[in-house]
């Protein structure tokens, strides 16, 4: 019960510090107060800390963020180049890409990462966790996206417990 509350309060206090931009004692106290107040109003639910797998999860989060940043830069440049070519060779289409994640959070994060990836945009998600993705180059994405999705899902299963392949939804 206390774990999610502390997590949310810490995140909110950090956000307050980032937005105000000074680390004097009075401001830190105000940040902690605001964080606790808003976290109390939000009443977050979820799992506790799980200290044992914390380092591994943090490393996985770092790798995941690097992967997303790389995709953001790559997709910006890729789409820009595609627009600037005189007659873009578009082979668009909607592909079904299985997310491989059982939990809803895992599916949502997969859809987010897949939409960031170059030339792909998730249009719909069905109840089996299949992501229907609109691709600018359907033939290339067929191979590329599936492979990346497998790697992403391995990372996600380390960040969120019980989300990988074969795990049961709680």
């Amino acid at each position: 019960m206390i774990g999610p509350f502390v997590k949310a309060a810490a995140a909110l206090a950090g956000l307050h510090l980032l937005l105000t931009g000074n680390v004097e004692h009075a401001n830190v106290a105000a940040a902690v107060f605001m964080g606790c107040l808003v976290a109390f109003l939000l009443r977050p639910r979820g799992r506790g800390w799980g200290f044992a797998r914390m380092p591994l999860a943090l490393w996985a989060i770092f790798l995941y963020l690097v992967l997303i940043l790389w995709d953001v830069i790559g997709s910006g440049l890729w789409v820009a180049r595609l627009i600037l070519t005189r007659r873009p060779a578009l082979r668009t289409g909607i592909l079904a890409i299985p997310s491989g994640c059982r939990s809803e959070l895992g599916r949502a994060l997969s859809a987010h990462a897949l939409t960031i990836a170059p030339g792909e945009m998730v249009v719909a998600i069905d109840e089996d966790g299949v992501l229907y993705t609109h691709c600018l180059d359907a033939d290339a994405a067929e191979i590329y996206a599936r492979e990346h999705q497998k790697r992403r899902c391995r990372l996600l299963s380390r960040i969120i417990p019980n989300s990988g392949e074969g795990a049961k939804e709680a």
Partner: protein, 124 residues
């Protein structure tokens, strides 16, 4: 000397960011249908703003914390916006021009997804 260097970096970032904004609008005007245009507006324009933010931090107009908050928010919100607009377009049946394949149409209507989501909500 240092000020000159920062100004040169700022010029570079502002020019590249502006060109990304122009590219996103050109893509929006040129590409054939709604779904392909979403790729242009959702990704390229965010890229431009992030470059401006880096320039603003480099010349010291804003402190880094707020710029990081805005940049992270844009990167998180961009895909959500693209997805919501794209899914609305598919629901009301806007066609794709020159599509090679459509797995979603082959599977069936999107109406089924809605009913099952409603049933799941009732079960809880």
């Amino acid at each position: 000397m240092k000020e000159e260097l920062v100004a040169a970096l700022g010029i570079l970032l502002v020019v590249v960011g502006t060109s990304f904004s122009v590219i996103s609008v050109v893509g929006y005007l040129r590409l054939p249908d709604v779904y392909t245009r979403l790729h242009a507006t959702g990704k390229v324009s965010v890229f431009g703003i992030v470059l401006f933010l880096i320039a603003a931090v480099a010349i010291g107009a804003v402190d880094a914390g707020r710029a990081v908050v805005l940049g992270l928010f844009l990167v998180l919100a961009g895909p959500v916006l693209s997805h919501s607009i794209g899914s609305a377009a598919y629901r009301i049946g806007i066609p794709m021009r020159g599509a090679v394949r459509d797995d979603l149409a082959a599977r069936g209507s999107t109406g089924r997804e809605e009913t099952t989501a409603g049933e799941q909500a009732e079960e809880r």
